[in-house]
């Protein structure tokens, strides 16, 4: 079919495939979901992206938005008590609003600044900051038993 530009797409995959997979994995905790959602995210990016766009922002926004949608469809997991540390954290991730988890992953795992996250999610930085703090406070409460055990 015409109207396609394969070298650009190869290039985009080369640079961002792993990044997209990683953020989705961190949010969903599932390799299968990370794989499927990454594929869908890249198809959407290839379909919608305009020349000269900020590709990294598109990749982060699209991939994490697919993960947010996926998490919304899931039933919330049980309380993260009585679990091994990392399982408990994963469960706690499942108990906070997906948008807060999205911000948390971009900040703490991707190391992006609040301004950059605001650009990526097209959301004002103060909102990003509120979401981040809310996420961390909720996780602190949910994980209190693990933290007080001094396990980390």
């Amino acid at each position: 079919m015409t109207n396609v530009n394969p070298p650009d797409r190869q290039e985009i995959l080369l640079h961002f495939q792993r990044k997209a997979y990683d953020v989705v994995y961190r949010m969903t905790g599932s390799a299968a979901e990370a794989d499927g959602l990454t594929r869908k995210a890249f198809l959407r990016i290839f379909a919608d992206i305009a020349p000269g766009a900020d590709i990294e922002a598109w990749v982060y926004r699209t991939a994490t938005s697919f993960a947010v949608e996926q998490l919304r469809r899931r039933p919330p997991p049980a309380d993260p008590t009585g679990q091994a540390d990392l399982d408990a954290v994963r469960r706690a991730f499942g108990r906070i609003p997906p948008e807060e988890l999205q911000t948390l992953v971009l900040r703490m795992h991707e190391g992006l600044s609040l301004d950059r996250i605001g650009e990526i999610l097209q959301t004002p930085p103060p909102t990003i900051r509120r979401r981040l703090t809310a996420a961390r406070r909720k996780l602190e409460t949910l994980l209190a038993p693990v933290l007080e055990g001094g396990a980390a």
Binding site: V4, L13, Y21, A31, K40, L43, F93, M108, H109, L132
Partner: protein, 317 residues
């Protein structure tokens, strides 16, 4: 700054997102307070836990190549995906609203007969009492209700449901239900509705997995069928702008997806024959479906529609 203020700011302090002067005040307090530093320790332990939960297991050596290869093959469907995504946003929202509205009406209609049976005509107090006071252990539990109905007395509310025998009273209602027009066809998800992109992505990803020419043709015709039924649904809304884009996507799938595969001469003879058979069968069905749609196509879309029909005919030869 007191302890409560500081404890409230610990997450932002640890994250490094405090303004410099606030950060300095927090540090000053932490240096002179015995109660707050353990709180900071806890925040740091939490951070360490979150960091560890961010470790991603390596998905395997061939994973990245196989994923990118799949995506590059799936990209063949992109022009058709793009054509659908060109539908203006306002139209999407309007159409999604309309579809939801129609869906709600369909749902309402489909639920009505059931409710009518349950909500039998309001019982007269006397007969309801009679039903309640009826001694149990008659020859047949259902018989009294039927007998009552046969005698022309209004049945007590709810009495119709547990009755396994079709009471004569219900008959006219059932026929009534059968007489209503059949809007039962499930609403077709249109561009912009939840899950519509998923449908496009699934088509493209199936394309990425198709190995042989006939498998690829099957995916292309499946996508063409989907666009055609969406086109029909968009005409019903009616949203002509959307219908036009869907028709364009449909034609594109046949012209630039199906046609080149049929024109390809490098496949082995068996594969070519199989591909021809798939195309012949599916394209004819398309021609027939299009001709059924033809009378309902508005004047403004006629030319595009004729082009689609012509393409389907060409592909079927």
């Amino acid at each position: 700054m007191n302890c409560t203020d500081v404890l409230n700011l610990l997450h932002e302090y640890s994250d490094g997102s405090l303004e410099p002067e606030v950060k300095a005040a927090v540090e000053e307090h932490l240096g002179s307070c015995a109660l707050c530093p353990p709180g900071l320790e806890q925040v740091r332990r939490l951070e360490a836990l979150i960091q560890r939960a961010g470790e991603v297991p390596e998905p395997g050596p061939s994973f990245w190549d196989s994923q990118s290869g799949h995506l590059m093959r799936a990209s063949m469907m992109l022009p058709a995906v793009r054509a659908v995504r060109k539908v203006p946003k306002v139209a999407w929202v309007a159409a999604a609203g309309a579809v939801a509205f129609i869906g709600a009406i369909v749902l309402l209609f489909s639920r009505m007969p059931a409710r009518r049976v349950v909500q039998a005509p309001p019982a007269e107090p006397a007969s309801a009492e009679a039903a309640a006071g009826k001694p149990e252990g008659g020859t047949n539990g259902a018989a009294p209700a039927s007998a009552e109905a046969a005698a022309g007395k209004p049945a007590p509310a709810g009495a119709l449901l547990p009755d396994p025998a079709p009471a004569p009273k219900i008959e006219p209602r059932r026929t009534g239900a059968a007489e209503r027009p059949k809007p039962v066809e499930p609403p077709v998800p249109l561009p912009g509705s939840p899950g519509h992109f998923e449908r496009l992505a699934d088509e493209a990803l199936r394309m990425g997995q198709a190995q042989t020419p006939s498998e690829r043709l099957t995916v292309l015709f499946g996508a063409a069928d989907a666009r055609r039924s969406e086109f029909r649904a968009a005409l019903k809304v009616p949203d002509l702008a959307m219908a036009e884009e869907l028709l364009a996507a449909y034609t594109l799938l046949l012209k630039e997806g199906v046609r080149p595969i049929l024109a390809e001469t490098s496949f082995d003879p068996d594969e070519r024959r199989q591909a021809r058979e798939v195309a012949w069968d599916r394209a004819w069905k398309n021609v027939e479906a299009l001709r059924e749609l033809e009378p309902g196509v508005p004047e403004t879309l006629r030319e595009r529609f004729r082009d689609a029909l012509k393409t389907a005919r060409e592909v079927s030869k």
